[in-house]
Subunit: 257 residues, 2 copies
C-alpha cells in the first residue's frame, strides 16, 4: 500500500510519501514514491506515485525519456506550464497502460496507478494536480488545497481539521507527519521511511528535502506526543448524563423496535 | 453510506450505528440500522447492518419470520447459543441474495451486505460476530475486541488507541461517539441520528438504548471539545529542528534522485 499527500498553501507547497511496496505480505520492499525535478531558478516539480509499481515507474521513465529526446510531445524541463507537465505525465501513463494493462489483467493483476504532481515553473503560479489512472487530471483549488492518494482515510481527519491555505509550511509539514503516523498505526502496509519536501512560493528551489528514517528523533517524538495528547483529550471529555428523564423516555417507544 | 461499530468488553458490550441511507445524492433517507431483540432475563441481541438496504431488511425479516414460525432452521428466541443466531442470520442473508442478487446485478446494483451481531443468551458468555456478504462469519476475540462495518477507516484510529477489553462501558460509549464524530466529519454520507446501546455483562437486559439526535447537547459538546482538543495537542507539538548538519547531509546524495 501507499500513502502520499500534497498540500498547496499560500506560502508554498508540502509533499510527503511513504516508501513501502508489497506484492503479497512476503514480498515487501522499500521504494521511494517521490521523484523531484529541480532546476534552481527555473522550476521545482514533485511527483508522487501510487498503484502498480511497474506502471508508475515506467510512466515516469517514459516522461523523462520524452524529455531527454526533446520529444515534440512534451518536455518536463522545457514546459512553460505545470498544466503541460500534467498532460505529459497523463500521456506517459496512458502509453504504459496501453502497452501493459492487457497482459496484467490477463493474470488478474491491477494496472491502476495515480499521481500527485505539484510545483512551480518560472512565470507561473504554484500548481497542484492529481492524475488519475485513466490519464485525466484535476487541479487543487483554495477550497480543496490538498490531494491524497493510496491509503487516504486514516490520515485525513487531522488534515481536514488543521490545513487551510493560510497554514504555514512548518505547520503543514507537522500535520503531514501526524497524518502519516495515524495512517501507519492503522495500516502496517504503509511504512517508513517518509520522503518529505517543502517548497517556498516563488523560490524556485526546494526548501527542504528530507528522508525520515525509523531513527528520526523528531518523528518518534511526534508519534509519542500525539498518541499521549489524544488519549489525554479523550480522558478529559466529560461523562454523559444519560439518566435524565428525557433520555429515559427515549429508551421506550418506537425508536427501537 | 453506513458506519456501525460493536465492541466486546470484559464489562459488557457497546453498539453504535448511524442511520443515513442514500441511493444517489438526491435520495437520502433515515433508516435505523440497528435492531434489538430483548427478552429480559433470557437474551439480549443487537444486529447492525451495512450494505444494500433491501437485502439487509429482507434478511432480518426472514430471520424473524423463521423465528415466528418456529422453523426448524432456527429461531432467534429459542436458540441456545449466539453461534446459532449468527448461523441463522447468515442463512437468511444467503436466502435473500439467492432470490435477489441476479436481478440486482443485471442492473449493476450491488447486493452485498454485512452485519455486526452481538449479545448474550442465558447460560452462555457474551459474543460478538461479523457476518459477511457470503453468509460466513467471524467472532471477536480479546485481541480484536471490536468490529466495524461500512465507512470504517476515519473512525478507527481513536478506537485503536483507546479500547481494550478492560475499558469501561462508559469510556467505550464515549469512544464510539468520538469515532462517529470523526467519521461524519470526513464522510457526509454518514449522518445522525446515531443509535447507541450498551449491555452490562450477565444482566440479560439492555442498560442503555438511546437515539442521539442533532439536538443532543452531549454529542454536540463532544464534537466541539474533541475538535478543540485535537487542535490544541497539534499546536503544542514542537517544531522540528531540521537545519542540523545531519539533515543537511540527508538532503543531498542519492536519496532524492
Amino acid at each position: 500500500m501507499t500513502y502520499c499527500v500534497g498540500i498547496l498553501l499560500d506560502a508554498g507547497m508540502v509533499f510527503g510519501s511513504d516508501s513501502r511496496t508489497n506484492a503479497g505480505v512476503d514480498h515487501i520492499s522499500t521504494f521511494s514514491k517521490m521523484k523531484v525535478f529541480e532546476q534552481a531558478g527555473d522550476r521545482c516539480i514533485t511527483v508522487m506515485t501510487s498503484g502498480n509499481l511497474s506502471v508508475t515507474q515506467n510512466a515516469i521513465n517514459l516522461m523523462e525519456l520524452h524529455s531527454r529526446r526533446d520529444d515534440p510531445q512534451g518536455n518536463i524541463w522545457a514546459a512553460e506550464s505545470m498544466f503541460d507537465v500534467a498532460t505529459l505525465l497523463g500521456r506517459s501513463l496512458r502509453e504504459v497502460r496501453e502497452r501493459d494493462a492487457a497482459y496484467l489483467s490477463a493474470n488478474n493483476i491491477d494496472s491502476s496507478a495515480s499521481f500527485i504532481l505539484g510545483g512551480q515553473i518560472k512565470g507561473e503560479r504554484m500548481r497542484l494536480f492529481q492524475v488519475y489512472t485513466e490519464g485525466n487530471f484535476i487541479e487543487a483549488t483554495p477550497e480543496t488545497p490538498f490531494f491524497q492518494i493510496g491509503e487516504t482515510k486514516y490520515g485525513r481527519p487531522i488534515i481536514d481539521r488543521v490545513v487551510t491555505p493560510a497554514t504555514s509550511l512548518m505547520e503543514a509539514a507537522k500535520c503531514v507527519l501526524v497524518s502519516f503516523d495515524s495512517t501507519m498505526r492503522s495500516n502496517i502496509s504503509v511504512g517508513l521511511p517518509i520522503d518529505l519536501t517543502w517548497y517556498e512560493r516563488d523560490s524556485l528551489r526546494f526548501g527542504l528535502r528530507r528522508r525520515i528514517l525509523e531513527s528520526d528523533a523528531y518523528f518518534n517524538m511526534i508519534h509519542t506526543r500525539w498518541g499521549e495528547g489524544l488519549r489525554r483529550v479523550f480522558a478529559q471529555l466529560p461523562d454523559p448524563n444519560w439518566d435524565d428523564e428525557n433520555a429515559t423516555r427515549q429508551y421506550q417507544g418506537e425508536i427501537f423496535k
